[in-house]
Assembly symmetry: C2
């Protein structure tokens, strides 16, 4: 069943597709809560001054009113602290374009009510005015998990976050996923040692490696006044991937080739962090990693790999970064991403180190519905469909439905009396596995899969979960 | 814990409050699905031409972009039918202000993919630019249930909808609720017989009875050129309430007093519908209604009553109407409302009769959090809090947490090693009922409620649900 969109970029699912999406959301929520992440929701709107601190202004939807006479939207500060950390002349409101910026504001404003480290998940719609295309929407669910600490957030959490993400991705009915991990300190430290000056600009170019290839990256890098050997170093580094020990060894080899010591504080710290994260993740995820040295399509669960080409374009990442891809569908783009941000959340007195990842839920639903259209249709809206004998039997039929409902069995009564065969067709169309007949003194339930029909005691009867 | 709002009218809950809200939403969803209602979600934005068909333009938020250069929002029609039934010169997009208008559009556009009667629920945020005040927000959850049929929607469904609503309201931890039921055909038929011409205008005035009282309603009605006896008839009718048989009798008595026959087709049909709905609802809800002739504060579950003053301001209702109030808190306003609309959904070829109710979820959350602030705080974010002995024990502690999580027990590890007493304080602050100690060769779990501490087998241990 094709997806339906009458306004370009704003997808709407069928009821069966929404039921499927909700089942995925429910399972994700359960995972997050088992890891003791707390649910929050932030308002959909933010002052433009907050949005413009981190956002691309081209993608922001602003809010207006049809009449100037309408009551004004009043932006007031909370008692504790101003909400505009970097006041600008722009006032007014806009729709949030991600959940990280609102989360950062929420933590600053509600700091006095939260327990730190604060672990939260947030599954909410966001809006971006980008040009719609396959897999890119203007209204979509993001599913975010973040941890923010008051002073120090141990590197162990970077590993735990990767493991939670692997766990969450396991839930999705998609081909195997590879989660790439890197650490920006390693890239930055290495670049510094080979004498690259504009590190942020080089990171943004290297981040395009998977998309445009090494040759074009080199052209762009040399156009930025990098020497041939500096460009080769950046590209050589981005080519390193594998498990923890092999990657650390390859970086040291490359340092030797490039004629650098590899002993700067930043690079050393990056390598320590990368080593600890990979050791913990590989040990905890060992049943998979040990059996798969390389990307492996035989696995049904996600695999994890260090990949030095993962840079993440956003400026606020300071250490570990993550990106997940469906194996063999890299051109679809990352299905999840995130990283460590030690300076993003800041209440004006102290920075609160944080760590977060985001799963592009609506994009994944679109992927699944396009490639496995039948997946949503398999779910039923009702378990037992009650045959209506005649109009005067509505009340009795309703009472039967109520008994089933009180026992947590989904039940519905046919909307009008007609031939039994026609009613059974409706039951099948709605996915019901059982139909129920009201006789004079007995009630019969027919299993539509097995064809078995029997007189039942409604207070005892249970649907057979195996048919 | 006070609610926090830095932008007036846009509430944000604490994590504990959100957890509470989610638990209510989950229970409502379960109820709706047991009644075989299907979940849908519509996009948050609609073309202004769609919104302005039913909405008050003062409350609509329009969407804009910071730059004209940004890619345009393209409104395309679906292949089957135009989305603008009543094209206007206003283009552009706005945020939806309710879920009924988007639902009506959704049914028209996806008609070919739906099974009728289509029963759907929808729990989603809506936005209204009204002046914020207690219990009135600019961003809030509506929780809607609707049934739409292709040709005929039997009156029995009006009773079933009331019963589902009573069932759903039973879930909410609020004082007893009264659900009022009326039928607009009764009012309209009665008004016609006494010679009232502008029936819609009179309905809107009578609808204010509970708020402004009979005297002021009479002043307004006579100002509208109603005769004294017409105004008295309208007010007398609005004063009738009680159970089905007593209300039907009282209406007949009033007709006699007013010197009318009460035999017009419209009035007779209204009375038939009201009688059938009240008979079914009262019979099915009899355990409550039989023991409470009048409004009764002793009941903990909702009660139901016919009330002829309920008119509903909206023009599109054509028969049964519902309004629910917290008993003793009528000034807070209706907590749920809805009714029968036989002409709202229309694909240009045929009208599809419908029936819907809406629960003001965010308003109810605000009510609960203001009056029972402790209710959200009772929920914990974690079941077992694992004591961290030293930094080097992080991995072993994480493994313990993973075992508990795999058994659906929420677990977390303390973020840094410190004195046990301090760690236990953190556990208590987070609502954990258990702390877990990792010894050299054993694992001990302490029940913080009973104080009992014992060596456990992690693969077997279960939290005691009764402490």
């Amino acid at each position: 069943m094709a997806k339906h969109t009458s306004v370009s970029g704003f997808p709407e699912w069928t009821p069966a597709q929404r039921r499927f999406e909700l089942s995925i959301i429910d399972r994700l929520r359960e995972r997050f809560e088992l890891y003791a992440f707390e649910p929050i929701e932030t308002r959909a709107i933010e002052p433009l001054s907050v949005l413009l601190q981190k956002g691309d202004d081209k993608e922001i939807y602003t809010l207006g009113r049809l009449h100037d006479a309408a009551p004004k939207d009043i932006v007031t500060s909370s008692e504790e602290k101003p909400i505009d950390q970097a006041p600008t002349k722009i006032d007014g409101l806009g729709l949030h374009f991600d959940l990280t910026v609102p989360f950062s504001r929420y933590v600053q404003e509600l700091k006095h009510l939260l327990t730190f480290p604060f672990k939260r998940y947030q599954i909410q719609k966001v809006w971006r005015g980008e040009r719609p295309q396959e897999g890119r929407y203007r209204e979509f669910y993001q599913c975010d998990m973040d941890i923010v600490a008051l002073e120090n957030l141990p590197i162990f959490y970077d590993a735990e976050m990767a493991l939670l993400l692997l766990d969450a991705l396991s839930i999705l009915p998609i081909p195997p996923v590879v989660l790439f991990i890197n650490n920006r300190k390693v890239l930055q430290g290495f670049y510094q040692e080979v004498g690259i000056v504009d590190i942020a600009a080089v990171l943004r170019v290297v981040d395009k490696m998977a998309k445009i290839g090494a040759e074009k990256v080199k052209v762009q890098l040399t156009a930025m006044n990098l020497t041939e050997s500096q460009a080769d170093a950046a590209i050589g580094l981005a080519g390193i991937r594998g498990n923890g020990s092999s990657v650390i060894f390859a970086i040291q080899q490359l340092a030797h080739t490039c004629g650098i010591q590899g002993d700067s504080e930043l690079l050393q710290q990056g390598l320590r962090e990368l080593r600890e994260v990979s050791q913990v993740v590989e040990a905890a995820w060992s049943d998979l990693v040990s059996s798969c040295d390389a990307i492996c399509l035989e696995c049904s669960r996600p695999i994890v790999e260090l990949n030095l080409s993962i840079a993440r374009g956003l400026d606020y990442y300071t250490g570990t970064v993550y990106e997940g891809y469906i194996i063999g569908e890299e051109s679809f783009g990352a299905i999840c991403s995130g990283g460590r941000y030690d300076n993003l959340v800041n209440d004006g007195r102290q920075a609160m180190p944080g760590l977060g990842v985001s799963i592009g839920l609506t994009r994944l639903m679109g992927y699944i519905f396009n490639r496995q259209p039948q997946i949503a249709e398999q779910s039923a809206s009702v378990d037992v469909f009650i045959i209506l004998n005649e109009d005067s039997a509505r009340f009795k039929s309703f009472q039967v439905a109520q008994i089933l409902r009180s026992r947590k069995i989904r039940a519905d009564v046919c909307h009008r009396p007609m031939a039994f065969g026609k009613q059974i067709k409706i039951a099948e169309k709605r996915g019901a596995r059982y139909v129920c007949f009201l006789n004079e003194n007995t009630i019969e339930i027919k299993n539509l899969t097995t064809g078995v029909q029997e007189v039942v005691d409604l207070d005892q009867w249970q649907p057979d979960l195996h048919t």
